[in-house]
Symmetry: C2
Subunit: 335 residues, 2 copies
Amino acid sequence: MKLGSLKNGRDGRLIVVSDDLAWFADAGHIVPTLQGALDEWERVEPLLKNLHTDLEHGAIPRMRFHERDAAAPLPRAYQWADGSAYVNHVALVRQARGAELPESFWHDPLMYQGGSDGFLGPRDPIPLRDEAWGCDLEAEVVVVTGDVPLGATREQALDAVRLVGLTNDVSLRNLIPGELAKGFGFFQSKPASAFSPVFVTPDALGERWQDGKLHGCLEVELNGQPFGRADAGEDMTFDFGTLIAHAAKTRALGAGTIIGSGTVSNRDTDGGPGKPVADGGLGYSCIAEVRMVETIQGGTAVTPFLRGGDRVAITMHDERHHPIFGTIEQEVVAG
Amino acid sequence: MKLGSLKNGRDGRLIVVSDDLAWFADAGHIVPTLQGALDEWERVEPLLKNLHTDLEHGAIPRMRFHERDAAAPLPRAYQWADGSAYVNHVALVRQARGAELPESFWHDPLMYQGGSDGFLGPRDPIPLRDEAWGCDLEAEVVVVTGDVPLGATREQALDAVRLVGLTNDVSLRNLIPGELAKGFGFFQSKPASAFSPVFVTPDALGERWQDGKLHGCLEVELNGQPFGRADAGEDMTFDFGTLIAHAAKTRALGAGTIIGSGTVSNRDTDGGPGKPVADGGLGYSCIAEVRMVETIQGGTAVTPFLRGGDRVAITMHDERHHPIFGTIEQEVVAG
């Protein structure tokens, strides 16, 4: 089942979307918002699934789904906690910052608390007040949980996964070193993230959802050119069950908690820094990584961070080359 | 005007509370929840104020207000961002951790993104899975904002302050050094915070709300003994306008954002480390601070962190010795 929110007020209007993303049916008679659905999932999920079946069978009135009308599936949320599960990415970014990677990073998940009071829709521009802040995209996988009890095991955590989706976790790279030096983590360096047009239940992902990971090529385009083709199921050191259990170690997590994978990143087959897609490599899911590789190879980062007018697209296709979650397509608007 | 939420489902039930905290009137016919009120404050505030006036005049049916029935005024929120505005506290805690205080901390506010998916009510126990985590209280002032535009000035930020209250920002001290060393800030070390029974509009605070600060003695009791008597209006290096503007530098803030002051802390009059209340000092708003002072004076911290059965109370009284925000009274439940 695929769920989305049409732009409407602060919390959107819940819709069920057809598997091919061509049609939707309003779910407002069941529950008005996705947060509302997550709040009483046990009661609401079977009703939404029936609606989805009717939609697929053409048994109810349906309307054309346009991704441009979609808000983030959760236009605001009570929690957004982002891991760094692809330790390869963390190692490269740290190297780029001249910071060391502690050995513990390979067995103790890194996670930060993100701002969740307002997210961008999949076609919303990225507002950037100052290009000198070094705006970057970060293509990631996310899951949305139900209630997770304090001290949940990995298995309990995986049972609580309700939905899977994609995000562009916008980062202001040039603000990060200063903030991290202060010791309290990211704040100003993490403006609003954008989410895919729809989130999908794990059962509808088939073999792509395995071992607490989403498997498939995460396609990232920068200004219309292929930029990233990493597989989200590869090199993910910590699966979502482990990430959620990490978050729930000292406190329960409320329904509607969004947990992020961190920037997807694959090791290069030859063990060296990743090659660009144009050179037959898997490319990058953020600009910081290609800048790192450029620095290693030529002494200087060449690819600039995002500037006004730059365009980013993030998607993942199924076997029939249909986007699973729809496509995040954003333009940076500076000033 | 004083607002609170009775325990009811995930978001509570909005009530207007009399100035003496003895009575309440249900506000459900205006708007069911406090978040709902904040979402459309311009429309709702005059209606709630009328209800408050009627309640004060005994012009409507009223019911006894019991603080034990109260949830946190916002039982969950879309954002909880906690500053460290009392740099005296930061300096002492850093000293206790053996970490240096950068000079920039005196002019660049420190702020972390906290978890906001579930808060404790003013009488809820503090759940503690492991006493070895070093559970501490932190008595703070908070404000709740309306919508704050991206890049808001301090003045715009102050205009957006809707409500003022108190919090116990529970911290797990022994988890902090490890988390901060990882560089991503607090996560497991910050379980759910508790909030005062009511939040109060700035206009109802009179001269106590001045220059973006709450003025008055923040009374903290530990196991029934006076523990802290610091004045929240003193030694606050960054006022709430500055804290909010800091948070809004790179992103807009959604209505219902809670901004915390950080642990309230006053310098001792003689310039040395603060004295306990029993010795005529202003005491402490967290245990870490007294442990720091003990270490300086005797080489070893003596006061233990919170253990099962320990009781914490946080309040602030007005001129007639009535609690302004009600009282946070919590017992630690270990295991």
